[in-house]
Structures are given as structure tokens and as C-alpha cells.
């Protein structure tokens, strides 16, 4: 029974959202409001039930004295964050916000350097390691070609975003001819990238539509 009710609610909300085809209407706004409210309420319940209660309240009641003392720090910082509700007391939340920002920045920068920058540089250089390609059973020519394409795409794309130019004798401002050519090549790679991303977004949206239509058909046993 509950599955039938939930399926019917899902069908109704799906139709209300699809009503946007005829323009902005109350059904679409109601559906959007329901989604926003349900998402916020669900998030609040998840945080309270899965974060605050098991990680703060229960330890404060059952943990040792040392653990309780250590829990005072996150409790105090959390209470300071609540002061952002009032503009007059918002300054009190600065320590907590500073702590969060600092930790997040440190973790993000460290992860980016160790997990992305260094490995990606090594991978780009390994593309020209024909011996390793042969050892892995790959075609050295294909590996070299792929490396050249990636290197060219990387360099030309970076050149495209270089807007430095000099003023010519006739007063016009133009980039160097070689740089201009490389920038145009980089522009092509950028266009291809955007096309791929658009295709992926469209494919995801089309898959969602198919899933919804299938769900409706399944609701009616079709």
C-alpha cells in the first residue's frame, strides 16, 4: 500500500513539474516548494539524528569525563555558529567560521596537491613513455599520439586564456601571431570540451526522463 501511495505521489509531482512546459504555473511552484521543504526537513532530521545526537548528545551523557571535556569545544563552536541568526551577535561566530574555513582550506589544498596536481603531472609525462606503453601492451604510436594531443590541448588552452598583447604601430592591439594561432587551436579544444559536457548533461537529463516515464508506466502496470 505504501508503495502505491508513494508511487502515486511521485507520479503527481512528476506531472506538476512537467507542467512547466506551458509556462510558470502554480502547480510547478507547489511542486518546487514541496521539494525544497522536504529536502530541508530531511536534511535537518538527518543532521540531528545522525550527527548531533550520536556524536554530541550521547557522548556528553555517557562518555568519560575527559571525553566530555573535549566535547565542550565543538559544543561551544556550534553554539557560536548559532549566533549568526542575529546580526548583532554574528561576530561571535567568527572563531567557529574561521576554524571551519581554515581546516577546509588546508585539507583541500593538501588534497589537491597530493591527489591531483602531482599525479596528473606524472601521468602527463608518462604519456610519452613509449617503453611503458609497450610493456602494458599499448601501441607506442597511439600512446605517443594521445600524449601529443593532450599536451597540445593543454598548452593551447592555456594560451587561449593568455590575454597579453602589444599595441601595434597602427594603434591596434593584437597578440603575437604564433600565440594567436595557438589560441585558436585551444579554442577548438575548449569547444569540444563544452560539447562533451553538454552531451553528458543532456544524456543525464534524458535518462532521468526515461526513468520517470518508466516509473509512471510501471505504476500503472504497463
Amino acid at each position: 500500500m505504501s508503495q502505491v501511495v508513494s508511487a502515486f505521489i511521485g507520479f503527481t509531482l512528476t506531472v506538476m513539474v512537467l507542467s512547466y512546459l506551458i509556462g510558470d504555473n502554480p502547480l510547478f511552484r507547489v511542486a518546487v516548494s514541496i521539494f525544497v521543504g522536504a529536502a530541508a526537513g530531511y536534511a535537518a532530521s538527518v543532521i540531528a539524528h545522525q550527527v548531533i545526537w550520536p556524536n554530541l548528545v550521547i557522548p556528553l551523557a555517557t562518555a568519560t569525563l575527559t571525553e566530555r571535556a573535549l566535547l565542550i569545544i565543538p559544543l561551544l563552536l556550534g553554539l557560536l555558529l548559532l549566533t549568526r541568526i542575529s546580526p548583532q551577535l554574528a561576530r561571535l561566530s567568527s572563531p567557529a567560521m574561521g576554524y571551519l574555513t581554515g581546516v577546509a582550506a588546508a585539507v583541500a589544498v593538501g588534497g589537491a596537491v597530493i591527489g591531483t596536481l602531482v599525479p596528473q603531472i606524472a601521468a602527463a609525462a608518462a604519456s610519452f613513455d613509449l617503453t611503458d606503453a609497450a610493456a602494458r601492451g599499448l601501441s607506442p604510436l597511439g600512446q605517443f599520439t594521445a600524449g601529443v594531443v593532450m599536451l597540445t590541448a593543454t598548452i593551447t588552452t592555456l594560451i587561449y586564456f593568455n590575454f597579453g598583447a602589444r599595441r601595434a604601430a597602427d594603434g591596434t592591439v593584437r597578440r603575437n601571431g604564433l600565440l594567436e594561432l595557438a589560441a585558436r587551436v585551444g579554442q577548438i579544444f575548449i569547444a569540444i570540451t563544452f560539447g562533451v559536457l553538454f552531451a553528458g548533461v543532456y544524456a543525464a537529463a534524458l535518462t532521468a526522463l526515461i526513468e520517470r516515464v518508466s516509473a509512471i508506466l510501471n505504476l500503472f502496470g504497463l
Binding site: 512546459l21 506551458i22 599525479p119 534524458l206 526515461i210 508506466l217
Partner: protein
């Protein structure tokens, strides 16, 4: 009624009786000399102090005359000695005496250029020495008699001297205000004889106590001593009434009485106290010893006196001294009977034996040993100043050293804008008491100038105003409703086109889904998907697997379709112990939904076959913390029970204890966070990515770098996995609808692009035509 006085500063009219402006508080009287401030490089104006000579008391004038004569004699003697010494041998100054022999010995040596240049400069300086004689070379006796007071007062130039007259009582006319003095005040003084003088001529480099009288011009003159007249005798005390009349013969003492002094002998014969009577008996009466001799004996000078004082004393011996001393000193006992006070040391204790230099010695020191450049300072440019006032005590005339102390214009540039008026109010206290116009009136002390009026109107050109008007019009047009340029038919056609496309897609998807056709060939197996399948196949049986659910509900259909086949194969082949985790708030529910819908055939039970840890807060920091210590970061399940005591969590201490990490996400950022934070800690364990089609291309670099073991992207990836596993599922059921609809969409995009191209070309052709 007198006319009102207009203020020179503010321009307002004030009553004539006011001295200061009642509006700006500045003096109303006009200023005679606006150039009162001294600018840099300007030589202070010399002030005449010699004209004060006539107003000095007689005894002081005679003392100055004697001192002057003695100085002239001493100067002449020294000049003669100097000339004689120069004739004998042209010797350098003493401080260079030792260099003479050396210089003679070095005459044959080669002189460097820089030293030769210095010698030339020295010769030029010597020439200037001849132009401006030094002080000891001045022949005071050769100066005209009229200029002697001027030279004595420091070389200052003064106007013509007025002859002092005496009245019947012997007092000068300037004291009694006689007709001669009044006539002198009324007579305008002739123009000053300005000429360039050197600083030594002006006496700027020597102390001149005589100039102290210059800044006391406005002090009231001391009242003249009243002459003993018959009318005043009635008010005198008895002892004073017994004094002999003025015409009684009495020698020198009687003459002193005539000049207004008192006869001490007569006073002693009256009602004097005993101690004064004793003094009378001990002293010699004036009749017994003439005053000249008596006073000369009484002032025997000590031997350690400076020369200039001795000269003055010797000069005094040739003339009667009663006038200099005053009559009240006549009956004083001689010096032999008066106990001499202990000699006052003329030098401080820390300079024993040092004696202060006399005036001539100081002058000689400056004249003989000063460097040439200092003793030949060029004279200032002659400056023609307005005619001095007739009165010798003209207000506002300051000595040169006082003028030098006045602020210059560079320090107070506003001083010229608000000059002080000599006729302003006199200072009431302080060292400048009695002087007027000494201190300039600063603007800060009063409103010196009316503030300029500035217009508040913006000074803009016509072009600027037109541009501003255009900008204003553009901004105003932004909030005005604009009618649609297209006609209603165009609007209807756009809506019809949108509805047409929507209907085509819905019908196509519905028809294909209802048909259940699988006519569309499955996609080719990509390399990253093949790697993912290979990795799944290599996972040991009953091993712990961490599955991360980081996608939203909107794309859950796609991600679930892509991951369903892969997870199905994993469970089917290896029966792993699954740990579900999510960094998205909706993730825990989506994870439960995924397990209950797509993996329901495996009958996996929560807490037994899998455990849902729920939401992992903290973003990247939470991922890092979980990768390092999962037991600490996520100790409980959604039900509040301990995770790590359950079968799926047993043996897990770090993320490296998992056999594989599978990340299901619809955003590339979420997958990148797991790769960056947890990838370095999994110790070579495989990390698989199942993503939406929109995130797959962004994660390809991590596949090529080996940071992710495999990738299943979108519906195509899921369909390829199902095709490889030969287990059709959701992806294959969606694949026909997806493929055909996508083909129709591509056709519509191509047709629409071609239509826009044709329309654009036609519009351009019409525009050119």
C-alpha cells in the same frame, strides 16, 4: 560724526573709536611697512640706536665718551704696533706660524691641482679683505664727529643728531618737555642715510648693551626730578627744609645742589640718625677735600681690573667726577677707610686664572683670527626704507638682534598675508611688553580672510552632460515594460514548437518503453568500464567493500541504472560485506533505496550483509578523517548501534582494510574529493567510479593516471556492463528509449541549426539588398 573705518581685512566698517575690527579682531590702523617679516636671505634692517645718545643722562654720556676715547687710543696703539710688525716681517697668524718654514720648504714641491685652486680662492678672499677693513683698522678719529655716536652704537646709521638743550634747572629738555624738545618732535626727521655695512660695522657680532635701550621706546620717560622750588618747600620735611638755598655759595657741592642733588653735609647736620652722624664725623667734609680729589681717591681701582676699565678710570681722572657719581656719593669716606669687599673672581672656578676678554680684545679676536670668508661678508643690498619718525623713540623700531629673532616667512608664510600693524595694541606682559606690532597676527588667531565660496554645481561640459543624460535614459528604460517586438504569431509558433518537441519526446519514450524493444545495439565496452569489470572480478570473496553514495535524487535513475549491474555482479560473484556511506544528506536514503530496488534479488539484509553508516559530515575533512580512522569518525549506524561490531564492519580499522572503494556520484567534484583524500590512503586498493554521464568526462584523467581503477559512466556504461555480464537490467531496458530518443534529439538539433542558418542568410541577404 566721523567716518567709519573700513577694515582692510574683512572690509567691514567699524566705529572710529575702535582699535580692532569688531568682526575679525584685527587692528584697524593702516600698516606703514608691509614688509615686516624677514624673508630668507634678507638682512635685518638696521635700527638706529645712536639717536638715543642725546636722551641719555649727562653722566652716562660722558662715561661713554671717555670709554670711546680710550678705545680709540687703544685701537690706534694696536694698529701702530700691527703696522710696525707687518713692516718688519709679514708673518702669518700665530696658529699658522709653524707652517711658514714648511711652506718655504715645500715651495719647490709639486702642488696638486686641488691645492692650487684653494690658493686662488684665498687670494680672492684677501682682495675682499682690503675692500672691507677689519674692525681694528677703523680710524675712529677720522670719522666725522656727527657719526661718532653711530659708530659707538654699533655702526648703525641714524638720522641727524639733534642738539640737546638744557633748561634753567640743568635738566635736559627731553625730560622737562621744553620747547626745544617739543619742536624736535614736531619736526619731521630727514631721510635715513642707508649704506651697505658689514656685520662688524653694524656690531652684530659683539654684545652691545647700549642697544638695550632700543626696545624701551614706548616706556614712559622717567619723570624729571622736581626742582627745589619755593612752592614745594612747604611739603618738605623739616630736615629737608633746612637745606641751604640754591644760590648760596658752596663750591662744588653747591653746584651739585643746583643740579637737583642733595647736599649730604647739610643733611648730616639735621635730624639724622646716629649711625649717619658717625659717618659724617668719620668722613671728610666736602669743603676740606674737593670733590675731584676725594672721589678719585675713593675709587682706586684694583690691579686685576680689565684694561678697558682701567682706561675708563684713567680717563675719568682728568675730569671732575661728581657729575658721574652723583652728589649723594660726595660725603662718602675715601677708599682707604672703607673696607674693601673681597674681590669677585672674574672667571669661574673651573677656569682658574682665566680673565674675561675686554671689548677691544674681543674685537681683535674677531678681526684678526676669523677666517676671511667670515670677515668679508658681502654687504646687503641697500634698502631704501621710508623716512623714520621724527621722535628718537619712534615706536616699532627694534634693534637688529630683536629683528633677527622675529619669525621668518618660511616658518610662518601667512605672516605676509596678515601683517602686523605697528600701531596695534602693545604687548602687556612678557619680554615684549610695551612693544607693538612685534608679533605678526596669525590667521589662526582670528578670521584673517573670508573663506572662498565654492559652487556646489558640477562643472561638466556639454558632452559630459549629454552622456550623462543618455546614461540616465538607459537606466530609466530598464525598468519600463517593453512590448514584445515579435508578433503574436511568432510567440505562438515558439510555444507550438516547444510543445511539439515535448510531445515527440514523450511519445517516443513512452512508446519505446511500452514496447520493451531491444533493437538498438548495445554500446561498445569502453576501456575504463572494462577495467572496472576486471577489478570487480578480482575482488576476493566475502571481502569488505565500501560503497559511497554521493548523488542527488534528481539523477538517481541514471546513477542507479549505471551502478546496478556492476553491484549486482559484485554481489553475485563475491558476496561481499558492504558498508554504505554518503557525504550527501540524501545519500543514506538513496542508499537504502538502491539496495531495496536494484539489489533486492540478493536478499541482502542490513546489519548482516551490509551496513549503512549514514551521512558523513565535514566534506573533504570528513572524508580524510574517515579514511584515517573510520571507527572514530563513524562509530554508530543509523539505528544507533555500533558499526564495527557488526559483520560488515569487522576487521576494519582504516580505509585500506576495504577490498575496494566504489564511489557512486553525479558530480565530478565529489569523486575528486574521494580520489584526493582517500586515494593516497587506500594502499593500492582499487577505487571504482560510477558516475552520471555529465561527470564521466571530467573524471577521465584520473582513470588515465591510474588513481581510479575503473569508470562506469552513465546509462551507456551501465548498458555495457550488462552486455559484458550478459545480465540485462535497467540500463538495457532504458537503452532503446535512450538511443532512439537521443537520435531524434540530434536530428532536431541539426534541423534547428540548419533552419537558423537559412533564416540568418536570408536576413543578411535582405539587409544587403
Amino acid at each position: 560724526m566721523m567716518a567709519e573705518i573700513q577694515c582692510r581685512n574683512c572690509g567691514k566698517f567699524n566705529p572710529p573709536e575702535l582699535i580692532k575690527c569688531q568682526f575679525c579682531q584685527l587692528p584697524l590702523s593702516a600698516m606703514d611697512d608691509e614688509d615686516e617679516t624677514i624673508r630668507p636671505g634678507q638682512v635685518p634692517t638696521k635700527k638706529v640706536t645712536a639717536e638715543l645718545e642725546p636722551i641719555l643722562p649727562q653722566w652716562l654720556r660722558e662715561a661713554r665718551e671717555k670709554s670711546r676715547k680710550a678705545a680709540e687710543e687703544e685701537a690706534a696703539r694696536q694698529a701702530a704696533e700691527a703696522e710696525q710688525a707687518a713692516a718688519n716681517r709679514e708673518a702669518p697668524p700665530d696658529l699658522l706660524a709653524g707652517l711658514e718654514a714648511q711652506s718655504h720648504r715645500d715651495e719647490e714641491d709639486e702642488v696638486p691641482d686641488w691645492l692650487a685652486g684653494m690658493q686662488k680662492t684665498s687670494h680672492k678672499a684677501d682682495e675682499r679683505v682690503e675692500t672691507y677693513p677689519r674692525r681694528q683698522e677703523i680710524r675712529w678719529e677720522e670719522e666725522p664727529s656727527e657719526t661718532e655716536p653711530e659708530e659707538e652704537m654699533g655702526g648703525l646709521v641714524s638720522g641727524p643728531q639733534t642738539e640737546v638743550t638744557f633748561d634753567e634747572s640743568g635738566l635736559p629738555s627731553w625730560i622737562t618737555g621744553g620747547p626745544a624738545e617739543r619742536e624736535e618732535k614736531e619736526t619731521p626727521a630727514p631721510a635715513r642715510d642707508e649704506r651697505p655695512v658689514s656685520p662688524f660695522d653694524t656690531g652684530s657680532f659683539r654684545p652691545n648693551t647700549g642697544e638695550l635701550a632700543d626696545f624701551l621706546p614706548e616706556e614712559p620717560a622717567p619723570p624729571p626730578a622736581p626742582a627745589p622750588t619755593a612752592a614745594s618747600e612747604g611739603n618738605l620735611p623739616d630736615w629737608l627744609s633746612n637745606l641751604p638755598p640754591a644760590d648760596q655759595p658752596g663750591g662744588k657741592t653747591q653746584a651739585l645742589v643746583d643740579t637737583g642733588s642733595l647736599d649730604m653735609g647739610s643733611l648730616l647736620s639735621g635730624e639724622l640718625p646716629d649711625w649717619m652722624t658717625n659717618l659724617d664725623t668719620a668722613s671728610t667734609p666736602s669743603e676740606a677735600a674737593p670733590g675731584v680729589a676725594g672721589k678719585s681717591d675713593a675709587f682706586d681701582l684694583p690691579a686685576d681690573l680689565p684694561d678697558w676699565m682701567k682706561a675708563t678710570s684713567s680717563a675719568d681722572e682728568s675730569k671732575p667726577a661728581q657729575e658721574e657719581r652723583g652728589a649723594f656719593l660726595s660725603p662718602m669716606p675715601p677708599s682707604e677707610e672703607i673696607p674693601q669687599p673681597p674681590p669677585v673672581p672674574s672667571s669661574p672656578a673651573f677656569f682658574p686664572g682665566m680673565e674675561p676678554l675686554g671689548e677691544e680684545e674681543v674685537g681683535e679676536l674677531f678681526a684678526a683670527e676669523l677666517p676671511d670668508w667670515l670677515s668679508n661678508v658681502a654687504p646687503a643690498e641697500p634698502k631704501h626704507e621710508p623716512q623714520a619718525a621724527a621722535s628718537p623713540l619712534a615706536p616699532g623700531e627694534l634693534p637688529s638682534w630683536v629683528q633677527a629673532m622675529r619669525p621668518v616667512e618660511t616658518v610662518m608664510p601667512q605672516a605676509q598675508a596678515a601683517p602686523a600693524t605697528p600701531s596695534g595694541p602693545a604687548e602687556q606682559q612678557g619680554p615684549l611688553a610695551g612693544l607693538s606690532g612685534v608679533l605678526p597676527i596669525l590667521p589662526g588667531l582670528g578670521p584673517a580672510k573670508r573663506p572662498s565660496a565654492y559652487s556646489n554645481m558640477l562643472q561638466a561640459s556639454e558632452d559630459q552632460q549629454s552622456n550623462a543624460a543618455l546614461l540616465e535614459k538607459l537606466l530609466a528604460s530598464e525598468i519600463e515594460p517593453k512590448p514584445l517586438a515579435a508578433s503574436s504569431s511568432v510567440v505562438f509558433s515558439q510555444r507550438a514548437l516547444r510543445w511539439t518537441i515535448t510531445i515527440i519526446l514523450l511519445l517516443l519514450v513512452t512508446i519505446i518503453s511500452l514496447s520493451g524493444s531491444q533493437v538498438t545495439p548495445p554500446p561498445n565496452l569502453p576501456g575504463e568500464t572494462f577495467a572496472a569489470i576486471t577489478t570487480i572480478n578480482a575482488i576476493p570473496n566475502d571481502s569488505p567493500i565500501l560503497i559511497v553514495f554521493d548523488y542527488e535524487a534528481s539523477l538517481s535513475g541514471e546513477v542507479e541504472a549505471a551502478a546496478a549491474s556492476l553491484i549486482d555482479n559484485l554481489i553475485l560473484l563475491h558476496h561481499p560485506r558492504l558498508t554504505l556511506l554518503s557525504t550527501s544528506l540524501n545519500g543514506p536514503a538513496l542508499a537504502e533505496h538502491f539496495m531495496k530496488t536494484t539489489q533486492s534479488q540478493h536478499a541482502y539484509l542490513p546489519g548482516t550483509n551490509y551496513v549503512n553508516l549514514g551521512y558523513l559530515p565535514g566534506g573533504a575533512a570528513g572524508v580524510l578523517g574517515f579514511a584515517e580512522a573510520p571507527r572514530v569518525v563513524m562509530p554508530h549506524t543509523l539505528n544507533g548501534t555500533s558499526v564495527w561490531s557488526l559483520p560488515p564492519g569487522q576487521g576494519i580499522n582504516t580505509i585500506a582494510d576495504y577490498a575496494a572503494v566504489i564511489v557512486l556520484t553525479d558530480q565530478a567534484e565529489s569523486a575528486r574529493v574521494w580520489i584526493e583524500q582517500a586515494g593516497p590512503l587506500i594502499n593500492g586498493k582499487p577505487m571504482l567510479l560510477v558516475t552520471s554521464a555529465q561527470a564521466g568526462p571530467m573524471l577521465q584523467p584520473y582513470i588515465l593516471s591510474g588513481q581510479a581503477a575503473g569508470l562506469v559512466s552513465g546509462l551507456a556504461g551501465g548498458a555495457s556492463v550488462e552486455q559484458a555480464a550478459v545480465r540485462p537490467g535497467l540500463s538495457r531496458g532504458y537503452w532503446d528509449a535512450f538511443g532512439l530518443t537521443l537520435l531524434i534529439v540530434v536530428l532536431m538539433i541539426f534541423i534547428g541549426s540548419a533552419w537558423n542558418l537559412v533564416v540568418g542568410i536570408q536576413a543578411r541577404m535582405r539587409g544587403e539588398a
